[in-house]
């Protein structure tokens, strides 16, 4: 039987964070704002170890970035005195923004990864309280050629699974990189992904991959929402093929994979690079059940018109069955679906620009609630 806080939805915005809780994913109670006036570009919810830890990347325009965590659904927050993420002195770098906070797999409780600006990947073994810089990526020979997307140069996607040695990341701009030795070394995995803003449209690296997600079946099947183009790889990023046919636009920021069912994924297309709004101002989620061969438009419960984008981390899926789908817009509206996108209901409105959302099934609400946030 679900309790009063069976589901939690964390909403990071340009000016603060809100939390929504629900017993059934149809009615939500909103609390907040937390960290008002500071942007919250990243949230990780870790339900391993028998607790619910919410970790947030916070950034004040005045006072800089930091990471805080709460183990009591936002009642209290803790910030390590010397910072959870700080660049070692020899790098001569300073943290600008935490773009991603990603709990590792169920096999490694306490391990949390982070992706940051400047482009860097970090690993914590104490539940996200202190992170260590991944030197393999920081010292990568490609570093000087990586660039910055409009939002800044950042590692924004981290995919992890039960194989401790295998880690995939995506960065803007730079593209997809994979490590098979637990982050000691990294190789680009971008063959087939177009970079239409470069003279060489199919470079080894340099693409502006906006988000990647791993198919539920594993086995190296991945999805990518590129700056322009939606792709699938069946060989762990070795090669990519377009799956954009059937979508109203191939531009967008986010892609989600079903946590349990292979072949099911969601994208939220935006009209072209120069516009970056829902096609014809009609907001819709598009879902595939066949790994991108066909797409179904889903807009039940969504507004008749919306001219704001959904950003790369402003969408998420929970681990329940059926899977919940969540997203927020730059106009500050947040929607939730308890039926895999068939119908949406408004959770929040008129918030600041939504930068990220994360949802979790809290213990006791579903049989598969032990891990969340590792599917991205």
């Amino acid at each position: 039987m679900a309790n009063a806080e069976s589901y939690v939805l964390a909403i990071g915005t340009k000016k603060g964070m809100w939390l929504a809780t629900s017993p059934d994913r149809s009615t939500w109670s909103l609390s907040g704002p937390f960290f008002i006036t500071s942007e919250v570009p990243s949230i990780g919810i870790d339900t391993r170890d028998g607790r619910t830890r919410i970790m947030v990347g916070v950034r004040s325009e005045h006072w800089g970035p930091t990471v805080a965590h709460s183990d009591d659904l936002g009642a209290t927050w803790t910030e390590p005195d010397h910072g959870a993420i700080t660049f070692p002195e020899d790098t001569e770098a300073a943290l600008e923004r935490v773009w991603q906070i990603q709990p590792d797999s169920a096999e490694r409780p306490g391990v949390v990864w982070a992706g940051c600006e400047p482009i860097s990947v970090w690993k914590s073994t104490d539940g996200g309280e202190h992170f260590e810089l991944n030197r393999g990526l920081w010292d990568h020979p490609h570093r000087t050629e990586w660039g910055a997307g409009f939002g800044g140069p950042a590692a924004h996607s981290i995919l992890l699974d039960s194989d401790e040695d295998r880690v995939l990341i995506a960065m803007s701009t730079g593209g997809v990189y994979r490590s098979l030795d637990a982050g000691a070394s990294w190789e680009p995995r971008n063959r087939g992904i177009q970079a239409d803003f470069l003279p060489d449209r199919y470079p080894e690296f340099g693409q502006c991959v906006h988000k990647i997600a791993a198919d539920a079946a594993g086995g190296g099947r991945l999805y990518a929402q590129n700056h322009g183009g939606v792709y699938r790889s069946d060989d762990d990023g070795g090669t990519w093929e377009s799956i954009a046919e059937g979508l109203p636009a191939d531009f967008g920021f986010t892609v989600l994979a079903h946590p349990h069912r292979s072949g099911t994924a969601w994208v939220i297309p935006m009209h072209a690079e120069e516009h970056r709004i829902p096609p014809e101002g009609r907001l819709a989620v598009h879902r595939t059940h066949d790994a991108g061969s066909t797409w179904t438009r889903l807009d039940s419960g969504l507004p008749d018109h919306e001219y704001n984008a959904v950003l790369r981390d402003a969408a998420w899926v929970d681990t329940a069955e059926p899977t919940g789908v969540y997203f927020g817009t730059r106009s500050g509206f947040v929607y939730a679906s308890a039926d895999e996108g068939e119908t949406f209901a408004e959770v929040a409105s008129h918030l600041p620009d939504v930068l990220c959302v994360r949802a979790a099934v809290l213990n006791g609400a579903a049989s598969d609630a032990s891990v969340t946030g590792s599917h991205g």
């Binding site: 006036t37 004040s60 325009e61 005045h62 006072w63 800089g64 930091t66 910030e79 005195d81 010397h82 910072g83 700080t86 660049f87 002195e89 001569e92 770098a93 300073a94 943290l95």
Partner: protein, 112 residues
């Protein structure tokens, strides 16, 4: 050798051969130091703004991170005034502070 004090509404003393410095904090940062409106430190001879920040934030590492990043650079929208002059127009964090001068930390006009 430096002595660090904090005060919500009082004054502090120093030894005869050292000077005392006060750093005024904006209200938004005061919760990080237990509600104090200013921090004081005493040091032998003149100190730079950077050294003074080291002294007064020694017991308050979160405050230190709010003011400067991990390279030691003053955050872009943090302004520090010495007797009314913003340190970026002087010698930055190397600006020397004399005893009795007012050191004021203010967040700049920024945001939207």
């Amino acid at each position: 050798m430096a002595e660090i004090k904090g005060a919500a509404n009082g004054s502090s003393t120093s030894s005869a051969d050292s000077a005392e410095y006060s750093v005024l904090l904006p209200g938004v940062l005061q919760p990080l130091v237990g509600g104090q409106s200013y921090l004081t430190a005493s040091a032998d001879g003149a100190v730079t703004v950077g050294r003074l920040l080291d002294l007064v934030t020694g017991d308050y590492p979160i405050l230190a991170r709010r003011l400067r990043d991990e390279t030691g650079a003053l955050r872009r929208y943090v302004n520090i005034y010495v007797n009314g002059d913003e340190v970026r127009r002087l010698d930055g964090l190397k600006t020397e502070v004399a005893a009795g001068q007012e050191i004021l930390i203010v967040q700049s006009v920024a945001g939207g």
